[in-house]
């Protein structure tokens, strides 16, 4: 059964169809949200709430994006709400640095698996933009829609993140040498 049919049935209150949608997307949402905290239970809470809200608002899902994109949006909002409630914001250590956007750096950016820990230094929004673009393959227009920001902001933020990661990575490499 196609995703569209499952959504159609879930709209009519079909539990089995919604279960199928859950099975298809739960792992994807979990692993994405897991990048923002080491607390598994907290991530599970976000995921659970995201699916509950998705079902309750499934009539509002217009189908212009993929279902998983819509779920990401709800899940990210859950995470943001949680962080704002607890006032946990990862202050961007790098945020204060004056960095000019260099498109050349963005183009030549190369990911190294050891770089992942450097993401911890990023604020949540930048980290989200980076993962959504570089890992999940979303376009800036989609990211803008998910995070309710402008496309330009998404582009600029990504460029900054890449520049920062590269700078930090090079520094670390020099220290290790």
């Amino acid at each position: 059964m196609t995703e569209q049919k499952l959504i159609y049935k879930a709209r009519a209150g079909n539990e089995k169809a919604f279960r199928k949608l859950y099975e298809l997307h739960v792992s994807l949402l979990f692993r994405f949200l897991k990048q923002f905290t080491s607390d598994d239970d907290l991530v599970k809470d976000w995921v659970q709430q995201a699916f509950i809200k998705a079902f309750r608002n499934i009539n509002k899902f217009e189908g212009r994006s993929k279902f998983i994109t819509w779920l990401f949006k709800i899940g990210i909002n859950e995470m943001r709400n949680e962080f704002s409630r607890k006032q946990i914001f990862v202050d961007a250590i790098i945020e204060d640095l004056e960095i000019t956007v260099n498109s050349q750096i963005e183009e030549t950016f190369e990911w190294h698996s050891d770089m992942k820990w450097l993401l911890a230094d990023l604020d949540d929004e930048k980290k989200t933009i980076f993962i959504l673009f570089e890992v999940e393959g979303y376009k800036h227009s989609e990211i803008a829609d998910i995070l309710q920001i402008s496309e330009e902001k998404s582009r600029t933020s990504l460029s900054r993140v890449k520049q920062l990661l590269r700078t930090k990575w090079e520094k670390e490499a020099k220290i290790n040498d």
Binding site: R19, E23, V26, F30, R31, Q35, K44, F55, R56, G137
Partner: protein
Amino acid sequence: MINKNEFYSDKDTLSTESKNALWDGIQKELFPRKDFFSMFDVKSYTLGFTTAIIFLFAVIGMYTVGKSFLYENKPDELIINSAYQKAIIEFEEALPRINKVGNTVRVDEFLQVKQEELKEIDVAIEQYGKDYSKNDYSQLKQERLRRLYKLKLKVLESIIAIEGTDHETNN
């Protein structure tokens, strides 16, 4: 673009148990299973029950009002006739006492004749009911009926009157 398998580690994987546990929570929230007692909504049940009681009293009230209204509007002929009917019933109730007593042959014959007369009158009354509509309160019908009732009463009276006369002679 970064390879997803390279980026996400095993720690980011959701176990089957966790998946099922998460679903249980979602299911409980979105599709709660109703047990026998939770099927009854106390508020609705109370409202429904109260409505039923009020409706019952309303029906009883309407019936009572309707009945008294009909009675009050009954034609006089009908009221007199029903009085005759009641009197006949009471007379008939007294009959078995007389019939049970050991009578003389003469009394028995008399009673037999009277019983025949009663049967004939009953047939006539019954026939009257069939010939005329039940709700026919016309004066003609009621007068004829009354005549039959009077006749029946007389026969019954004569049967009752025999008590204490031939009885004593019998002893």
